[in-house]
């Protein structure tokens, strides 16, 4: 038994060591302040709050979508956060996409259908650059997974706009305490009351940010709810199987160990 504990001990200690050091390397610079938040989707039983994610779609659609694409998400995916089939069709139909060539080879615009992916605000990358001083606003599909700090970073960033401190030199952009380097090209997008929620929730700045984070946590990890519930069952099964195998092992080895 001693060896058994030793293995677990060394395994875990080195694992934790390596990863603490490793993660440190990814953390944003010392000039970025990130507030660690608890979201509905954190933890073992945490799930995406679908009502919040639906409100988040409204925030995305009315505020963010002006500049940021969501290219990996299809309108049909919205069924997952509780929209009905008709709502998805209606939502998709307000956007226009390039249609398929007709029999004369003409390509016409058509309204989007649920199987289309979210329509980009730009025709192409060059247009995106031209509209935004040469930089393409990042696609938001994976943004929660694509930044160190994840959802907490994103939350802190949207809340992190402040006036430029007097001791800093004039900057070319906006001052944000959560952004690495503190100078960000994106102006503050949310102030509160930027949208009028369809479900009547009061649109405070905090509420809008949390809803947007819920929505983008879902776009980044649409499998999150399934993954966690399946994981729990798999984990329980494996704990059970490990116990049974351990007892079998003890029984079989009795002959040898006496």
């Amino acid at each position: 038994m001693k060896n058994y504990y030793q293995i677990i001990k060394i395994f875990f200690i080195s694992f934790i060591f390596i990863n603490t050091f490793f993660c440190k390397a990814f953390a944003a610079g010392p000039d970025a302040k990130i507030t660690k938040m608890n979201f509905s989707f954190d933890g073992i039983f945490g799930v995406i709050d679908k009502a919040s994610a639906r409100r988040g779609l409204q925030v995305y659609n009315e505020i963010c979508a002006g500049c940021h694409s969501l290219e990996h998400v299809a309108y049909r995916n919205l069924l997952d956060i509780g929209f009905s089939s008709d709502q998805v069709k209606e939502f998709a139909s307000q956007f226009e996409v390039m249609g398929e060539p007709d029999s004369d080879g003409e390509v016409n615009m058509r309204s989007a259908i649920p199987s289309d992916r979210f329509v980009s605000p730009y025709l192409n990358d060059n247009q995106a650059k031209a509209y935004n001083n040469g930089a393409i606003p990042p696609d938001l599909s994976l943004i929660i997974k694509a930044r160190a700090g994840g959802a907490s970073y994103f939350y802190s960033l949207l809340k992190g706009y402040e006036d430029v401190p007097e001791d800093k030199e004039p900057i070319n952009g906006y001052y944000n305490i959560a952004y690495p380097g503190n100078v960000i090209a994106m102006p503050q997008p949310l102030y509160g009351d930027d949208v009028e929620y369809e479900d009547g929730t009061e649109a405070t700045m905090e509420q809008e940010i949390i809803d947007l984070v819920s929505f983008l946590a879902w776009t980044a990890q649409p499998e999150l709810n399934d993954r966690k519930s399946m994981g729990f069952r798999v984990f329980l099964f494996l704990v059970f199987m490990t116990s049974v195998l351990f007892l079998s092992y003890r029984k079989i080895w009795k002959k040898i160990k006496g």
Partner: protein
Amino acid sequence: MSNTKNGKGVIGWIDYRLPIFSTLQHTLVDYPTPKNLNYWWNFGSLAGIFLMIQIVTGIVLAMHYTPSVEGAFASIEHIMRDVNYGWLIRYIHMNGASFFFIVVYIHIFRGLYYGSYKSPREVLWWLGLIILLLMMATAFMGYVLPWGQMSFWGATVITNLFSAVPVVGTAVVEWLWGGFAVDNALLNRFFALHYLFPFLIVGVVILHIVALHTHGSNNPLGIDRKGPQDSIPFHPYYTIKDLFGLSFVLTIFAAVVFYAPDFLGHPDNYIPADPLKTPAHIVPEWYFLPFYAILRAVPDKLGGVIAMISAILILFALPWLDTSKVRSATFRPIYKKFFWLLFIDVIILTWVGGSPAEGHFILIGQLATIYYFAHFIILMPIIGIIETPRPLPNSISESVLNKPIKG
């Protein structure tokens, strides 16, 4: 299996002509194994199982992946979102690579501790190191396939290392790239080779097992078996022990796959590759960090590459660098301490490899690199000569019967 000798029955008939069943019988059932193996001996079979997990999930992923610079990143998202349980298969494959390295590194450290590289197991040890080299190449090419920022810049940094080769360096790099930059040609050939290499690994694993079974497993005492009383058949004793160990490790694996699937990865790899935008810190996957630290510890590019490659090549010479006749560190009081120092040194190298190459990290990395090589080139030969080993037990069975042996 007595009937197989006469070729009775379908199995017997086949086995008489192609001894596949009796080979399996000898390998997985009868194989006489030392009766005193501890849990550290679980990691060999674990490594084999993770190899199988990687191959199976990898083949499924390859059915849905698109190897092109335009399509690669989106096809990964297609797998994650549209393919049935694609997210599960990909997360198993991503984290399976990490776990494969964890169990292999433990397997290697076990060999270092118990002197498993010593005569007559030198070739067994070499084959293991060849597997490690193939694994590293495979993992590196696999990490490039999603074509995220770290994929692209990792590939750029590592392939550029070949430019350090005198005279033909640039030509070699352009040959590797199939062009003048890391681009579609490289992605395509990496995909082809990433698919090929695991099967090469399987081949070397078979040789590794043949070499293992030629002289049998080493054991925690490091002494040779004196007779049949020291051995037990592999089945059921070690099959059940390996199954228990497997189930235990799979439980940890499941916890990571389902609850922290991106914990071991880098967030930047969820940003599509952009040749015009260099990430703030380019870091490889965690299992390359010690070698990355050694690479960066040498101020000269060619020197760094040589040091990094030597860090593994030096292990091939271990059977001769270690001058002690005693295999197991259990009976080697001085070597045992230095073994753990080496372990700590590798942890430090991992930490330095993941940190930006600036300030005190540079010095720590250089010292840790020097210590790494000193351990093998200077300390090991000297310790073997000056050390007085503790008395070895007469036989495995005697030791098993009398008192428990502390690892």
